[in-house]
Symmetry: C2
Subunit: 348 residues, 2 copies
């Protein structure tokens, strides 16, 4: 593979001059520039990004450690992150933690070893020593979706509180009184917050949330199945199951189906995180939608701000409730609402 030296020889100039034209440095004569460009073309030369990074101490690369690529929410987040990063002249390397702290740590380490310019993370747990140390050491960093309290790092996330309140109002209106939740890991902020928001909303209606109606999941499908089975085995099973993410909702559907039960007749279902398939499931699933693309883009902007010396700000965007049929027919009587996916915005 041709190096800058080869180009210099071919163009009859020094490597310094080649470097200058490649980097758009102004003080190069038109003649030299032309000869360098011709040589680059002739040799099919491409600068070695590794060497450049070593020298400049910047990789123009962002690391993104997500909790689970197989979760469509994170896939979409990753996509928007890459898009915005590309627009700003950065590449992104994705590390998939699969909800495993050890894997998360592996990726953080690998990414740091590669000297990425900044790190975007959606922590799987309370934060490994390596991650906290990186934050303290001043590695530009931004948390997205999930975050770690007490660490001085901007957080870009969505607030589901209003949407959860709307959901509970919707459920109450449909006559449901015995509500249950499949929670995410308590080690994650979203794992805790969604339960808290749910509990608070229930309290507004004087509804209890006893321990046996809080199932401990891990944001993955299998845990949703397991928890739902437990709910169904209860002496008094819940009227509704609210899954704290879409994968656990999938597991819940598996469990309900395996028992030959029906949604919403036998048990209603709602999920945090909306995905396109929810329109076509049997029945269509009522869900809380995050502005995923906006979150990804905002996170990148905040991170790049930090990298380039500006102050990256935290951002919180509202989620919204999307009512479908999985919790029962709307009391208004519109069995099939006119729009395929009626949207109710969360109240401010």
């Amino acid at each position: 593979m041709a190096s800058i030296k080869d180009v210099a020889v071919e163009a009859g100039v020094s490597v310094a001059t080649v470097s200058r034209v490649l980097n758009g440095h102004p003080s190069v004569s038109p003649g030299a520039r032309a000869r360098v460009l011709a040589a680059v073309e002739a040799l099919g030369y491409r600068p070695n990004a590794v060497a450049r990074s070593l020298r400049t101490d910047q990789t123009r690369t962002l690391g993104l450690v997500i909790s689970d690529v197989m979760n469509p929410y994170f896939t979409e987040l990753a996509r928007s992150v890459e898009e915005e990063a590309r627009a700003l002249g950065y590449s992104v390397i994705i590390g998939n933690a699969d909800e495993r702290p050890d894997l998360q740590d592996h990726h953080v380490t690998t990414l740091l070893d590669r000297r990425i310019d900044g790190l975007l993370v959606s922590p799987t747990d309370g934060g490994s020593p390596r991650m906290l140390e990186a934050a303290r050491a001043g590695t530009p960093m931004v948390f997205v979706d999930r975050w770690i309290p007490g660490v001085d790092v901007p957080v870009v996330r969505s607030d589901g509180r209003g949407a959860v309140r709307d959901l509970v109002a919707h459920l109450y209106r449909l006559g449901h009184r015995r509500l249950a939740i499949i929670a995410g890991p308590a080690a994650t902020t979203t794992g805790r917050e969604r339960v808290d928001a749910f509990r608070e909303a229930l309290a507004e209606y004087g509804l209890p949330l006893p321990d046996d109606r809080i199932g401990q999941g891990d944001f993955q499908a299998e845990s949703g199945r397991r928890v739902t089975e437990g709910f169904l085995d209860l002496p008094e099973p819940p009227d509704v199951v609210f899954a704290a993410d879409n994968l656990m909702a999938l597991g819940a559907l598996d469990a309900v189906r395996a028992r030959g039960l029906r949604v919403p007749e036998d048990i209603a279902l709602a999920a945090f995180d909306d995905i396109r398939w929810f329109v076509h499931t049997d029945p269509p699933v009522t869900a809380i939608a995050q502005p995923t693309g906006d979150l990804g883009r905002a996170a990148v902007r905040a991170l790049v701000d930090r990298i380039e010396g500006r102050t990256g700000e935290s951002v919180t965007l509202p989620a919204r409730l999307v009512v479908r049929r999985s919790c029962g027919e709307s009391p208004s009587g519109t069995a099939h609402p006119p729009s395929p996916s009626p949207v109710r915005r969360s109240t401010p």
Copy 2:
């Protein structure tokens, strides 16, 4: 950030010795080794992978350019690729082409600039000059899922021919005679092959596949919707629509639903690529399942073989038909088969 020099000073040895203990070189005295290790620990030293790569001319990194991250098939492929790569001591950088040749090219270029050790690609088109040039230049490379004919690169893919034949047999048995397909881009091998396999299977039953029942899609949802609308507008709409990937099947469902029609009563649906949600759609969707994880792992092994000087072999694995209810009830009379997702293996 501490460098190898800092460690050397701290340990009272030369950088060469530090490097040796870090790389497990045998000829280091126990005493020196201990002092180096202590210094590494004390300083929290981590070797700079960029510098190491420049020196050794290897990055221990694989590039993976996939056609579309939002497609669950590719997401799963990416996951298995990363898993196997990690097991073999490599990292992987994913580039998402979004089915756009220009974006694919951007990622290939970026990846090559970073001097990845090898490239795994599922080409979006017939191959850009840059990619073909890289292949010719000897960059270790493997095609996965889709490939480019005439390029001397191993191909790891799945053969859906048998499963498509099984699908057509299934459809015929159910009484369907007017079949249609939503094809992928003709510039991709899978785009062409799936149509060919479908056409051949139809021919075995003496069924025609007229042009107006071959809709041109691009493997993304919107095209599935558009093509399906066209089918439904035909004077004689098809009995069945076979979508060449799961996203176009999603679009087809959108279109059918928007017209207030029902699957399979009004029109049947089948898809290439099975995904977990298909179990819960209304109705559950009959699909052709690829051994995605196996493909990803085989592709990585082939690529690493090439990188490390062994001969990476092409691999072809069979796909299989998974019968559900979207094409009509099984004539055997079992409306709800005992197993939640009955599997029929493709004939050898």
